[in-house]
Amino acid sequence: MTYFRFASLIHFARCAVVLCAVNLGTVILCPVTVHADPLTPDELKFFEINIRPVLVKECYGCHSNNAGNVRGGLRLDTKELTHIGGSRGPAIVPGDLDGSLLYNAITHQDFVMPPKRKLPDNVIEDFRKWIEMGAPDPRETDIAEIQTTITDDDIKMAREKFWAYKKPIQADPPAVANADWPRTDIDRFILSKLERSELRPAEDAEAFKVLRRLCFDLVGLPPTPEQIEDFAQQWKVSPDRAIEALVDQMLAKTQFGERWGRHWLDVARYAESTGREVNVTYPHAWRYRDYVIDSFNADKPFDQFVQEQIAGDLLPAKTDEDWSENLVATTFLAMGPKNVNEANRVQFAADVIDEQIDATTRVFLGMSVACARCHDHKFDAIPQTDYYALAGVFRNMTTYFGNPPSEFGTFATAQAKRTSSLIRLPIDDPNPFDKRYSSQELAALKKQIVDTQNAAAGDRRQAMAFGDQQALIRNRLRSQNELSQLSAKLAVVDENGNPHSYCMGVQEQSPPQNARLLVRGEIDQAAQIIERGFPKVLCSTPVNIDSSKSGRLDFARWIGSEENPLTARVMVNRVWQHLMGQGIVASTENFGVTGQAPSHPELLDYLAVRFIDSGWSVKSLVRDIATSRVYRMESTFNERNHEYDPDNALVWRGNPRRLDAEAIRDAMLFVSGEIEFEKPRGSEVAKAGYSIVRDGVLGDPRETIRRTRESAGQGMREAMAQRMRSGGRPDGGPVGGGFALGGFRGRPMAGGMSMSSPQDLFRKIQSQLDMEDATFRSVYLPIVRDEVPRSLEVFDFADASSIIGTRESSNTANQALYMMNNPFVIRQSDSFAQRIAKESKRPADQLEYAFVLAYGRPPNSVERTATASFWRSFASSSQHSNGEALSALCQSLFASAEFRLID
């Protein structure tokens, strides 16, 4: 294999995607590959006589390693370096004059080379011929051989000595002195360690606290008043059975998948855009989100879940639906952050593979193999050769993350230089917002593209005739942007104007190629070829990859199996963390030498083996932990224990925790009664389509204004209708004493601004991605990298560009401002107030109902006094109505610490 092959594979995968028929009678996209043949004598002669002397004489002075001068990072010494090019892109793309910047420069288009004069026409003609004949070039790079400093013995030693590399062994649960306390084996492991340190486990928490914990932990929502009453009754009979029954109930709800799916989306760095310098949307990423939620709800065996995400495209599928699901799963590999502004496509390809290796190994194995891209891993026994063995596995696929080419091709722009296609799904299930075009619209769209192309060509001729370099570049940038947008619209529909169904993901290339080790990870420093393989330190038996296969399917099956020591441990540790507040291994994504050692290694192994034995059932694992005695311990502070173990590593009490951003927002919606449980299809990003996100605005701001106006009109019509229904009374409700409601005008807009005011429209556009009006669950909010909705961002949402197993949990003034002043919070407070006013006319009952809804318990006497005092002072001095006073009270319940903490 030569470097040229690598480069051209990537190139063709990107640009020359064609439709070809495959099995199951449908059509998907697959790449065409080309082969590099040895040079013919004629080709060699042509190069040596017509090309090499010109390069040496005219170019090497400024663009050569040997000359020590590499202006613009461009080196023309060897074939590989020439194809890699400099900071502006490849100098030569075989067979592609437009893509070859060297040709662009010698013909004085966007670049002017040599700088002071133009080469003779016959020389330029020679270069044209040479590029068109495939740029045959005998100048191979000298290949270095890099020796790793990590020996096989080192690896063997690490495998035998380091806990995480040894396979989990199920130990018998230890005997404990206090034999009455444990309910499950989990309790025995925990208690035994506490007893050895002479610490006592905390008492059981009160029933309502355990219930609140269970509800938030399992479905991310607070309990209802009915649940609270039922649970309290059952708890009196048997706490064990009360918990078991509730856990089973919660596990069966679709909200379970929405809760636990979101935990997975954190580690999977789920997002709907590329992030980085130029933020391009992924309008089909939402399919992966739904796939994850559905998988958790179906209790899909975790080993299968793993395999689908790494190699779903290669797994056998019985039906088109299954096949679609498997393809969508591979979105995992395609949705990482990307620098689409990267000029150098070889660098881009290497970076994409690196990101895929990093995500795959850290997410599934809790180890960072990507450290070995540039050198042997400094701490773990992962030689650089292991990285390139894995790079060999990952490089034999094409990653689809962009938008398909139209019949006019794909148009890169100055910002989004790296384009990509998508995978056609074998089922008919288009993006819900994709537009259908009539035949007239279709024809008009095509004509617009042709006209733009013609106009661009005309401009170009004119600018060249006048030698106007600036105009040339300006025109080109503008027409490329226009063409890119037009082509993106045309590309996603069939010849009748009906939208196709697409997903992001990966597809295999063949025949498989090994990767070369790159010295210091630099793309132009290729060393020896490395056989495809897996990290040796994790393989107790050597793996053999079929020479006709990439090995990716084997890798997926190996990760999703008990053959490697980490997958099960890493997952059970995460589940433990989400239920208990901190992991047995605190560094949830680092099980390597620099990670934290497990606080309870035997328990970790016990859970891992049990997880595997259960058929990798996440729900069983959750049930095991949630029904343990440990889970229901109260979180009360104990000075002596705290001095001994301030981090609660031994689990002597329940960890008090702050709810995450989604649970806080969802709980407000749930308590206010506004929550919409029906899952929205697609997402705001799918609605906007393939586009660049600028200043937090998706797609075309004019479109946003139009939509906002429409929905504002809708909202006002609804408000009017409601007023009519309530008999035309301006305040729309019965007036009672005490806390009763009396002042809502329809659904008041925060600040009393009318919806169509320019400020409000401006705010809407600026905060389009905040989606303050949405009432669906938070997991369905749009996740554009670096542009996360405020309701999530303010409460430490996981950075969508990183693999986050453990979120931060802060208390900031910013959060206080959000709870005090944000229009969404105020609107939910209004609805909450209306709800309790509807429930009862008696102030005391209203207050009790409000507390039960918000905190799962009635108010105590101190709280009753405080609220009464608030009511007196607020209502007496207020120009506000009772309704607004009640809303302010409800908002206080949302805002207080108890609402966002679970004890």
Partner: protein, 454 residues
């Protein structure tokens, strides 16, 4: 210093209660307010800090560490492999002191006589997250309070209506770098700007400065009544839970937020700054606009009494495209930084404001891919200005090519010790008792670099 228990008491029964009950007087608050201004251990040279954090690792050999031998040995093999790469930029001597500074920072260079270059920096971490965290907290291994949080804990602040520690536009996922860890939450940095569509502030002159800074419905007295209710619920929870740092943090955050509502919009509104001031910072347009605006805000914050302000300027990580991208990064911050120094000087604030410039590490003298450099934590440069440091002074040195510090090494612990010293705090005395042990920013390390003190 306060013990945790005293603090808890003061928060739950003292400062908070007084504020809500409307019976507060300045003296009473000062007695119990954890943010109240406190006396340093010894007379301080610097009263406040502006930390210009250059995230990504700017190359010292291309900015402030002049290496003529590197130019001479260009193309030769470096001592750790790779071929040495001379700086694409020329160095000149500046000011009366004749400090060598590269052409990347022509405007900063015009203040050469105010700068102390520390050319012998070292940290233990070769990768970004670890090095950033060590630069901010002293350790990458554990979660510990940040430099700003320690400063605030030691000195309190001079304006209770503003956070005492502000981090402007910190990078995503970096809250640990301005967090308070086990110190009371009130000492953590408040993030202002960046992160999310509604939190932008660097664009547009006036308008909403901090998201949700104003209640659309309630006036101040109404909101105070609402807040009193929120806080009584919180205090009641605190009473039940006895020890609950999260509740404590929530209580503090509301009081601060309430006061910020008045103070922040005015402070963030730069529309009344004169055209010449905006131009001084480069905040009037072009590539300097964003960072210029932030430097201007930094000045406005410290002027208003904020103790510690951090401003981040990112993307210095040039493994490739060094010559273009380092130039672009420098172009965006050179004028703003120079403007800040100039402005502080003309307001007579530079004498007691410590300005710190630096990244988490430097870059290798050897080339990466022809036009790039790798991370280098063994030797790099930071600088300080104002607040009690010498001007026109160079401290420490790296080897002939700039690989590692060889003379007067300044480990990040020494750097921290010196910063605290300039603020009048003894780094060995500034301790906090947590879980039965006294913790400090410098752990068991740190030597004050007395040579750089003016």
């Amino acid at each position: 210093m306060f013990s945790r228990r005293q603090l808890l008491q003061s928060v739950s029964a003292g400062f908070g209660y007084l504020a809500f009950a409307g019976m507060s007087s300045a003296e009473e608050q000062a007695a119990s307010n954890p943010l109240a201004s406190k006396s340093p251990h010894f007379p301080a040279r610097a009263k406040r800090v502006i930390f210009l954090c250059m995230q990504g690792g700017p190359s010292h050999v291309d900015t402030f560490d002049y290496k003529p031998q590197l130019t001479k040995d260009h193309g030769k093999s470096g001592k750790y492999g790779g071929s040495l790469l001379k700086s694409p930029w020329e160095f000149q001597q500046h000011g009366e002191s004749g400090l060598w500074i590269s052409d990347l920072f022509p405007n900063v260079a015009s203040h050469a006589d105010e700068l102390t270059l520390i050319r012998s920096m070292q940290c233990d971490q070769p990768v970004h997250p670890g090095a950033m965290t060590q630069m901010h907290t002293g350790t990458a291994q554990f979660i510990r309070p940040s430099l700003g949080a320690w400063t605030l804990y030691g000195l309190g602040t001079e304006n209770e209506s503003l956070p005492g520690f502000v981090s402007l536009s910190p990078p995503a996922g970096s809250s640990r770098n301005y967090g308070s860890s086990f110190l009371p939450a009130i000492y953590g940095g408040s993030k202002v700007g960046s992160g999310g569509p509604s939190a932008r502030f660097a664009r547009g002159g006036s308008g909403e400065s901090v998201p949700d800074i104003k209640n659309p419905r309630l006036d101040e007295s109404q909101q105070r009544k609402q807040l009193d209710l929120i806080q009584s619920l919180n205090r009641e929870k605190m009473r039940r839970d006895r020890f609950q740092p999260d509740v404590e943090g929530v209580i503090e955050s509301y009081e601060l937020a309430f006061r910020m509502q008045d103070a922040m919009p005015e402070l963030m509104d730069t529309s009344k700054e004169s055209a010449s001031t905006l131009a001084l910072y480069g905040a009037d347009g072009g590539p300097t606009e964003n960072f210029g605006k932030q430097c201007l805000l930094a000045r406005r914050f410290v002027e208003a009494g904020v103790r510690f302000v951090e401003v981040t300027h990112g993307n210095w990580d040039q493994h490739a495209n060094l010559s273009n991208d380092h130039q672009a990064r420098a172009d965006a911050c050179d004028q703003p930084i120079a403007g800040l120094l100039q402005d502080l000087k003309q307001r007579d604030m530079l004498k007691d404001t410590l300005v710190i410039w630096g990244g988490e590490f430097g870059r290798t003298p050897a080339a990466q891919g022809g036009d790039g450099r790798n991370h280098n934590n063994k030797g790099y440069t930071t600088w300080m200005a104002g607040g009690g440091v010498k001007g026109g002074f160079s401290y420490g040195a790296t080897d002939e090519h700039g690989y590692e510090a060889v003379e007067n090494k300044c480990h990040i612990h020494d750097w921290h010790a010196t910063i605290l010293h300039l603020l009048g705090l003894d780094h060995t005395e500034l301790t906090y008792r947590y879980a039965g042990r006294d913790f400090r920013l410098t752990d068991v390390h740190g030597n004050v670099m007395t040579d750089i003190l003016a």
